[in-house]
Amino acid sequence: MNNALDVKNLCKTYIVNKRQNNVLKNVNFTIREGEMVAVMGPSGSGKSTLLYTVSGMDSITAGDSMFYGKNIGELNVNALADLRLDDMGFIFQQMYMLKNLTVVDNIILPAYQSKKGDESRKKILRRGQDLMRKLGIIEISDNDINEVSGGQLQRACICRSMINNPKMIFADEPTGALNRTASDEVMSELIKINLEGTTIMLVTHDVKVAAKCSRVLYIVDGNIKGEYNLDNAGSDIRPIERERELNNWLMEMGW
């Protein structure tokens, strides 16, 4: 299996008020194609920074992040934008959408903007609606974003991240703002997407969420302190055992 993401000696430093803050220090890890990897760690450990830096959403101070063989740090802004449009999908903790667009319009917007393929607008719209149907939110298709619940909106965000059939989805605490039921629904959708072949890297605080992934990276003070492989990721077999296993490991890591 090929590497989807290959991170080597990654450093990220912020300078605030002339003070240097080294958030990521020589981070090394690899995510293989089709994997679903969770990043966990205490607050302020650099989880989100790691996600945004490796995906090119934020600049790299030093080191490399190879996305399907492309060095993110060497790409110019336009190439990075194209990569985000066609090959990456992003899901945030808050359900960010454009206010003046309906839910379906928000979802299909990146597809209309993409020059990948020569699909007609009608087909894109149908594809957007199919995605919504698949995620069980077709009934809110023409609603404004203010007219739907958080869980529905987060599923709409997943649809948007999926609309251009990306190679990889980066999710920053996708269930962080949801209740347990909504969280489970969103996770089961992400698992489905992963099973269909899309690589996923997600940041979470939730052991239940992380237990559904195939691998967990644990980050402390900007360094990967350890990683844990979970068998049969995404399957519903022995979910409680997986959670318990992961919990024990996290305890060992100092969680």
């Binding site: 945004y52 985000r84 449009l85 808050q94 959408m97 003046n100 667009l101 917007l109 203010n146």
Partner: protein, 794 residues
């Protein structure tokens, strides 16, 4: 504590506060300078006449001892005269004045030589300083004469007659309250006492004359008394009549009044928008403060204090800028008259700046009113209830065929029309401010304007100064008509079929019932009265018929079919009855006028002036054909000045065409600058407000160029909407604004000359291009907006 909150707020929201400060500076500058200019312009002519010490009534005569003695006797005996003075002047022919290179001076009017220390009035130089004395060998002349001849201070000219010549050096241009306008028909040249005596002694001018300046304690009663006398004069009139010679200057001034009013409107619209916009930014913080228990009154006071600080700083800077800005605009109004800059004084500017502070606080007070009503949580949610909101988007992407970026721009505008309203209003006013003055300027410089002076439109004008003087002094109509007939024959012999005619002016009193008015009267020689424009009724056909202007009609209460009385100085010197057959309009003599039929036998001893000889081709000619005819006429009358219709209008209006061009450039420049400034500030404001959306679009893969396109397209669409609105509104606004100006001058039905290519294509495209360039440059800032800003989305 509250001090610290304000201090922190001012620092933290630096960009937004700076934008607000800039808009307050703009508003303060525009309002202060515009109000002061309004005062300066509206009182310009009376102030100028006052400064020049112009008398209430002026009479000009040419040497006739008996006539002068009669006038002096009348003035001495008149009970309405406080004081009167007299000055001498000399007429010099154009043929006697040569430029340094030996060329004849270009001058359509008669030249009048005068001393500087005359009793009639004071003169001023180009710096508006009084000219108290002139050194021997120096000369002052009107600015338009210098411009027409490309003359500058220091250039030399000579006045020659036979073998005698006097060399003179141009010291400067002079501002002459009585004769400063080219429409006066006489150019006054100022020389030293010694040079005046030498010209009088050695050059033997063709005509000498006298200027009577009268100070009357009841000018209307004096005019009534004077008009009963039948003195032979070249000119007689009061200050209001002299004012009419400055109509072009005043029309330009009127354009600046329109500009000033529009700038004030723009200022308040932008101010309201910016305050609303910045306050919306604060709503969440208001919620937090409310949530921790700070009272609404305290919170409101906090924001009012913040806006008070910003508005005081902005108003102070605006006050300082308003003085040079106002002067820059006023300097363009007129080179012929003195418009005292800052007529209202610094006090007016200060009051206006204070008014801006008051307006800001009022807007802030009314906008913060909702603080009392907002619950803390609603404020935290940015004024929303939380659950259901009204539908925001109007357009559907799924149903749209527009490119994505264009769709986003359109959807933004139509979903939040209020937000973009201020821009639409500003740009629309900008477009109106360009179209209205340009239409007015084009109307003023078109050859058809001659019809508004109640003259027949002609293809060529022949200026024969010595003949014109003979027409005035000859007292014989046949002499003029024989001349025009002979010219027709001569032209015919040279293959040009044309009618030749001449316009003759008189001053008569017209009476209807108890009402009467002293009026300029016109009669064409060699042309039928039917050839002129009438707004209603018909041309006077018979000798006992007249047409009058609508202002005369209003003043004396006479309309078509009524009988009026006019003393035309006929053999019996009695009033004769005439029937009014038609109504017309004229820009001459404040719109007061009478036109006689060509059949009426008027006393040509009373002629007060003649216009150049007019030539109208009978043959239907192409533009090239007209040019060819004009060349031929120039050859036939090689010693005289021959002008085309356009050239004559240009000369008739003096250097006004050049001034109009300057005005046009200034207005376009000011509007373009305002548009650019407003665009830069608005786009900057939008970027600050939309950082999160920009971040989100970036995170979904939108390139910077697409996001810049989205920002710029919004401005472009708004500008196009404004252009359409501006174009639609400009015509009625022209009629209301400058149309009213024309009406005040006597022309109530002005057909504006519209050059569609210039007005609807060239200037709008220029503004569109420059505004878009400004918005592109400003929108480049989105490159600095990080994807992380997505987290600040509301």
């Amino acid at each position: 504590m509250y001090q610290r909150i304000i201090k922190k707020d001012l620092m933290r929201k630096k960009t937004m506060n700076i934008i607000l400060l800039l808009f307050i500076i703009l508003a303060s500058t525009f309002v202060s300078s515009s109000v002061n200019n309004l005062i300066s312009i509206s009182t310009a002519l009376p102030n100028y006449f006052d400064r020049a010490g112009l008398y209430d009534y002026i009479i000009m005569t040419i040497n006739d001892e008996k006539n002068d003695a009669n006038i002096a006797e009348f003035l001495n005996e008149s009970t309405h005269v406080n004081k009167w003075v007299t000055d001498e002047y000399l007429y010099v022919s154009r043929d006697d004045i040569r430029l340094y290179d030996g060329e004849l001076i270009t001058m359509d009017s008669t030249a009048m030589i005068s001393r500087v220390d005359i009793k009639q009035q004071k003169f001023f130089d180009s710096n508006n300083d009084e000219i108290k004395e002139i050194a021997d060998g120096e000369i002052y002349m009107p600015i338009y004469l210098m411009k027409n001849n490309n003359l500058q201070a220091g250039d030399k000219l000579s006045i020659k007659k036979d073998d005698y010549s006097i060399d003179l050096t141009i010291r400067d241009s002079c501002k002459d309250a009585f004769m400063g306008s080219s429409m006066m028909g006489v150019i006054r040249l100022l020389v030293s006492d010694n040079d005046y005596s030498r010209i009088n002694e050695y050059l033997i001018p063709e005509i000498q004359g006298k200027l009577y300046s009268i100070d009357a304690h009841d000018i209307e009663a004096f005019k009534k008394e004077y008009n009963k006398e039948g003195f032979a004069v070249v000119f007689s009139g009061d200050q209001s009549m002299i004012s009419t010679t400055y109509i072009m200057d005043m029309l330009i001034a009127l354009l600046f009044l329109v500009v000033s009013v529009c700038l004030i409107v723009i200022s308040f619209v932008i101010l309201k928008f910016t305050i609303l916009f910045t306050l919306q930014e604060e709503i969440r913080e208001i919620g937090v403060m409310k949530a921790i228990g700070i009272r609404s009154r305290r919170i409101r006071g906090l924001y009012i204090l913040k806006y008070l600080i910003i508005s005081i700083v902005g108003a102070l800077l605006g006050f300082l800028l308003s003085i040079p800005f106002g002067n820059m605009l006023l300097d363009q109004v007129s080179e012929n008259i003195i418009i005292s800059n800052n007529a209202g004084g610094v006090f007016v500017n200060a009051i206006c700046s204070l008014l801006i502070v008051g307006v800001v606080i009022f807007f802030c007070y009314s906008c913060t009113h909702q603080i009392n009503k907002l619950s803390p949580i609603r404020a935290i949610r940015n004024g929303s209830e939380g659950e259901r909101f009204k539908r925001k988007g109007l357009l559907r992407l799924g149903k749209s065929h527009l490119p994505t970026v264009l769709y986003l721009a359109m959807n933004n505008i139509f979903s939040a029309p209020k937000r973009f309203g201020a821009l639409v209003i500003t740009f629309t006013i900008g477009i109106i401010l360009i179209i209205v003055p340009i239409n007015t300027i084009n109307t003023l410089s078109d050859k058809s304007l001659i019809a508004q002076f109640n003259m027949a439109e002609s293809d060529a004008y022949l200026i024969n100064e010595s003949k014109q003087i003979k027409y005035i002094t000859g007292g014989n109509r046949e002499f003029i008509s024989n001349d025009t007939n002979a010219m027709e024959e001569k032209l015919k012999d040279n293959g040009i079929n044309a009618s030749v005619y001449c316009e003759v002016m008189f001053q008569y009193r017209i009476t209807h019932g108890d009402y009467s008015v002293n009026s300029m009267a016109m009669q064409g020689v060699g042309i039928s009265a039917e050839k002129y424009l009438y707004t209603s009724g018909q041309a006077p056909k018979y000798s006992n018929e007249v047409a009058i202007t609508h202002i005369t009609s209003k003043e004396i209460g006479a309309s078509i079919g009524d009988t009026v009385k006019i003393n035309t100085g006929n053999a019996t010197n009695t009033e004769k009855e005439y029937m009014v057959t038609g109504i017309y309009q004229t820009l001459n003599n404040l719109g007061v006028g009478i036109r006689f039929s060509e059949k009426e036998e008027l006393n040509y001893l009373n002629v007060t002036g003649v216009f150049p000889i007019q030539i109208k081709y009978i043959d239907d000619l192409s533009e090239d054909g007209e040019e060819e005819y004009l060349d031929r006429i120039k050859k036939i009358y090689s010693g005289l000045i021959v002008k085309s219709g356009d050239e004559y209008i240009e000369d008739f209006l003096g250097d006004i065409t050049e001034q109009l061009e300057g005005t046009k450039r200034l207005i376009v420049g000011v509007i373009v600058l305002i548009n650019i400034l407003v665009t830069i500030l608005m786009v900057k404001t939008f970027i600050i407000k939309e950082k999160a959306e920009i971040g989100l679009l970036k995170s979904t893969g939108f390139r910077n160029s697409s996001i810049i396109g989205w920002q710029v397209l919004r401005i472009g669409i708004i500008l196009i909407i404004s252009m359409v609105l501006g174009t639609i509104l400009s015509n009625p606004i022209s009629q209301i604004s400058t149309g009213k100006g024309f009406e005040m001058m006597g022309a109530s039905h002005i057909e504006f000359v519209i050059k569609p290519l210039e007005v609807y294509v060239l200037y709008p495209l220029l503004i569109l291009a420059l505004t878009l360039i400004a918005s592109i440059i400003t929108a480049l800032q989105i490159r600095r907006v990080s994807v992380q800003e997505t987290h600040n989305i509301e």
